[in-house]
Assembly symmetry: D2
Homo-oligomer: 136 residues x 4
């Protein structure tokens, strides 16, 4: 059991959202924030950095949005579904845009982009699942 | 002229968005991130903190979303309108939810909530204006 | 193998720091950022919130410092040991201050503070190890 | 009077630090976070991006540390001088490293680096002043 799971279980504020979807989304947002930060950096270290400008830019944006989403969904007290849905949906969009760009470079042998695209896809899906859980 | 204005003017990447709407949105996002961080803290220092739980929570969320939006709109290179619109719209939503809550406490004499509500309204409007400029 | 490990392995920028210490510090910083965000929220949801004001404040500070440290240590390209040491040392300090406060409340039955204190200790140690690896 | 000044004045938590040094440091940290984010982006849009790799990297680091420092110093409730000094000192270090690099590129005609270097110097000094005020 991760620290994030244990924080959900020990919180006095409960019940608004399905704990499994929530824990998955929290983990995915923090993982993707890290992956995108590291991918921007790895792209910046490549010889053909000028081919990776759009990738670096989307990595930086996606990292920022994932940090915000990960922090918002880590909070259960006085949960606001309108605000939560807005940031989680925008995180799914950021992950889609960044993941598509990374996937393009993965096809040309950029292995860090392959790993990052995988993390973006996972986070996009976790965000979509959480939005569905919020609507339920 | 602010540092943010000068950064826009000296950037080699130009022309996607109206510079006035852009500069206003950047300034508003960073100002509101600071105001919400300070308002969460001020609420936490009040005697009747249990009356301010929802306000603190929304302040923390809004600060996080404003930081992300402020950073994304500070970037002009390889600008992605889909991602930008998503985070700026979610920032307008966060500012609406937080500003409404702060306005409620302002009516009961919480002066820091009055200042924060003003900043949230300004940021909400600047985000709406930028989304309109993106669509134009 | 985690995404963070795979990002280190696929980066073109290598060799400055021991990869094991680095991966441990990255994971610990992001984990602790999440734990502190969640602990501030859990404290805010407790009945005796006025007893937990200092804990909430330190949780918010520690989360912010851990996000910054986690992002800086995720970058290997053009690594700057002076800047890296400064933020990683300040992260160890933030984790010490927050972990001590959480441990105090853990003794009085606050289970989320116990989990968070554990994460703070782990992150403090991972930061100290990374600073030692930087000096080596 | 800025929103940050008004937030300090309306906070119920007062007196630990000189309000003038505090307000200056808050403003400088948020300004520099924005400037460094925009400078990383402007550098990424330059033709000779490979000459600017170290600058982009330090810009990203400095932006992250400034956000953390700016948020920590925006909080007055249950103020912890040990944690505050640690993050503000590391912010001064980040601004020194980034400002030095930007100043180098400013000499070669990078106007965004000139503006960013100015903001880094201002933030470095504001952080040093605040640490002095904390020690007083």
């Amino acid at each position: 059991m991760t620290i994030a799971d244990r924080m959900i279980q020990t919180s006095p504020s409960k019940g608004v959202i399905d704990a499994t979807s929530l824990a998955a989304c929290i983990a995915a947002c923090f993982e993707c924030a890290q992956a995108c930060t590291a991918c921007a950096d790895a792209c910046l270290g490549e010889h053909e950095v000028e081919m990776l400008v759009r990738c670096i830019r989307l990595n930086m944006d996606c990292a920022d949005v994932c940090v915000a989403a990960g922090r918002v969904v880590s909070r259960q007290t006085a949960f606001d579904p309108v605000l939560a849905r807005a940031i989680v949906e925008s995180c799914a969009t950021a992950c889609k845009q960044c993941g598509d760009e990374c996937a393009r470079h993965a096809e040309h042998g950029m292995e860090h982009c392959r790993v990052c695209a995988e993390s973006c896809r996972g986070c996009q899906n976790a965000c979509i699942d959480l939005v569905a859980a919020l609507a339920a």
